[in-house]
């Protein structure tokens, strides 16, 4: 059951001129959150902005005894709400409702986990990587961004023994180009008998390419979609994704309650 808290800002760390990591004192939400779930955040009270915005839970913060003390959000400044979050000050209160949505389904060894992130689509993978590490799952992060300066938290993932495959659009770090290119090559060279689960989050174009690549090699792919959401609870029907229907047609599912994690091969990417 989701909890609504007026969470204090513990810290606000700027990663670049657009990206920040906001730490919120929301222990009750953090204690319940599973990798892939999200929270609905209102950047300030009043009618401007009016609605909350959805954010993946980035990290779960814990004290030395392992008790959840809060959570962080990875945010990219693109509009009013994200600008307010970028400028948020310590001690400021921010309404935070969660945890919401269906989380990732975790795999167990010997299956490997391959995470595919594009830009701010890195958001659900910090907590997923921790959960996979705790299970002893061998994991790889395929991570693409515009430029080297927008590849964040590389040390964090390296500490969890996660192999990093990086691309940048300008070639300033890793391979030049899009992240699905190295993903395709790795899948092509992997024996069919070696199980691998794909997890993808990023812009729709990247998600569609990742899902299609997974289908090409017969691999399952869980995608975390991002849609404009009104409520996050299934009330408004704003955040729909067209999914394959058994009758051959399609069905709009609400990504807030059926997702945000959905089966990549069930989404009608061209619709």
């Amino acid at each position: 059951m989701p909890i609504d808290v007026a969470a204090s800002v513990i810290a606000n760390r700027s990663l670049s001129s657009d990206y920040n990591v906001l730490a919120l004192a929301a222990p009750a939400i953090a204690a319940e959150a599973a990798p892939g779930q999200f929270v609905m955040v209102k950047a300030r009270t009043g009618f401007d902005p009016l609605l909350r915005r959805p954010f993946s839970v980035f990290e779960i913060l814990r004290d030395t005894r392992g008790t959840a003390t809060g959570l962080t959000l990875l945010s990219k400044r693109i509009g009013m709400s994200t600008s307010l979050l970028y400028d948020a000050r310590e001690g400021q209160r921010i309404d935070c409702l969660g945890p919401l949505g269906r989380p990732f389904t975790l795999v167990n060894p010997p299956a490997e986990a391959w995470m595919v992130a594009g830009g701010v689509g890195l958001a659900p993978f910090a907590s997923l990587a921790q959960a996979l590490h705790a299970r002893g799952v061998k994991s790889t992060l395929f991570y693409g961004a515009r430029r080297a300066a927008e590849l964040f938290y590389l040390d964090f993932f390296a500490t969890l023994d996660i192999e990093l495959v990086l691309t940048t659009e300008d070639g300033s770090k890793g391979e030049r180009g899009r992240i699905v290119a190295p993903l395709d090559r790795r899948l092509a060279s992997r024996p069919a008998s070696s199980p691998v689960m794909l997890y993808a989050c990023g812009p729709d174009g990247m998600l569609a390419a990742a899902a299609r690549t997974a289908m090409k090699y017969g691999r399952p792919c869980q995608v975390s979609v991002e849609r404009i959401m009104g409520c996050g609870l299934g009330g408004c029907y704003s955040c729909v994704v067209p999914m394959r229907h058994e009758d051959g047609g399609f069905h709009h599912v609400r990504s807030c309650i059926a997702g945000p994690v959905l089966a990549g091969d069930q989404i009608l990417w061209d619709r």
Partner: protein, 411 residues
């Protein structure tokens, strides 16, 4: 404290209703809101068959507002009855079903199916969705269409029927009148305002349907005005809505003439808003109770007059409140009612009329039995037996609290 309100034959435990299209089928919220504590829940709009609605993006935020074009995605009335209604019933929800149609026959058929289902309290006729091409609003934008549709549904159901009116007309009150004349038990208003938002960088509309319906605090003052216009025109109860975000907003609608209110967009922002709204209304009643004579703390009496409820009277602090003590079969009482009603229609400000049948209360019978009808204005005795139109107009003009009423509402 009793917050109950009567909407025709329906009694709601409080005047707070979850608006259609803003609360899923209600079951989505069952784990976080005790549905039995709401006055009622209005389902998402239902056609005979399932619909997938429009492609995303379906909403965009505008200043203090929400622009949406969902396209009435829904599971169809039969699946609703089979899959959602039992849970709503088990949770103790009062369920009002929002009924849609592309043709008059479809509205009738959906209503007929709901009439045979257990656990439906009322039908809200959606003749006002701005986001679908056929049906719906074409009934809601024509006086004859509204009248004919309500008549047709009225014939096939004993359930209370509440047409939901569109604000996208020149004179919404005339549509409320058409609905009333056709036998509607109440009217819901307003649905969303037809609107548009464009991304100037891409030069494309911000939602896939190009046009959408605007809701949220931005529309509230217009909605309040429309509710008040309808209150002055029809006698049937009004379910008022449009941008209510807190208890004061809800009270504003009730002072304007709504008997109950619906809340939509604000419950997206705060799904736990309901208890805050009831607390806020209770607090308001407590604060305003002292100034009210004891006799006003009474249950409403059924009459030909607009229903006013006991706590609504407190919300009416700013209105002129006319109370008639009467008895059934009293000729003078009928005459006075007619005159009060006539004067009320031409009164400049918001005005509430309450009729109290003294035959139901021994104390009142003793006090007023020899004097009825007795007229009170703002809790002060103003006339007995008879009152003339000119005399009543003068009483209203010269009453002691002359600054109350329309003056304050008008700013």
């Amino acid at each position: 404290m009793d917050l109950s309100v009567r909407i025709g034959s329906l009694t709601l435990k409080n005047p707070l209703i979850a608006a259609s299209g803003c609360f899923g089928y209600g079951v989505e919220y069952a784990d976080i809101v005790d549905l039995s504590t709401l006055g009622a829940v209005v389902s998402k709009g239902l056609f005979l068959e399932a619909r997938e609605g429009h492609a995303a993006p379906r909403i965009v935020e505008t200043p203090a507002g929400l622009l949406n074009a969902i396209g009435l995605q829904g599971i169809g009335v039969r699946r609703f009855v089979d899959e959602k209604l039992p849970e709503l019933r088990a949770r103790g929800a009062v369920v009002i079903v929002n009924v849609c149609g592309t043709t008059l026959d479809e509205y009738v058929e959906v209503s007929r199916i709901l009439s045979g289902a257990e656990g439906v309290a009322a039908i809200e006729l959606n003749i006002s969705c701005p986001n679908i091409k056929e049906g719906g609003i074409q009934f809601g934008c024509s006086l004859n269409g509204t009248f004919d549709l309500v008549c047709a549904v009225r014939k096939v159901t004993a359930l209370p029927v509440f047409p939901k009116l569109t604000p996208n007309v020149t004179d919404v009150a005339s549509f409320a009148r058409a609905a009333e004349d056709a036998g509607a038990d109440a009217v819901s208003l307003v649905n969303t305002f037809l609107a548009m938002a464009i991304d100037v960088e891409t030069r494309r509309p911000k939602i896939s349907n190009v046009f959408g319906g605007l809701s949220g605090p931005a529309i509230r003052p217009i909605a309040v005005r429309m509710v008040h216009e309808c209150r002055q025109t029809v006698k049937i109860p009004i379910l008022g809505m449009g941008g209510i975000a807190d208890a004061r907003d809800a009270l504003e609608f009730m002072i304007a003439g709504a008997d109950a209110v619906q809340v939509g967009t604000a419950s997206f922002v705060d799904p736990f808003i309901w208890s805050k709204l009831t607390d806020g209304i209770r607090d308001y009643m407590r604060r305003h109770k002292k100034s009210e004579p004891k006799s006003e703390v009474r249950s409403p009496q059924t009459s030909d007059f607009p229903l006013q409820t006991s706590y609504f009277r407190f919300a009416c602090e700013l209105m002129i409140v006319l109370t008639i003590y009467s008895r059934p079969g009293c000729h003078l009482c009928d005459e006075m009612k007619a005159i009060v009603e006539r004067v009320a229609r031409s009164a400049p400000g918001p005005l509430a009329i309450e009729e109290i049948d003294i035959s139901t209360d021994r104390d009142l019978e003793v006090r007023y039995g020899a004097e009825i009808p007795v007229l009170f204005v703002d809790g002060r005795k103003a006339a007995k037996y008879r009152v003339g139109e000119e005399e009543l107009t003068r009483i209203l003009r010269d009453r002691p609290n002359g600054s109350r009423g329309s003056g304050r509402l008008g700013g």
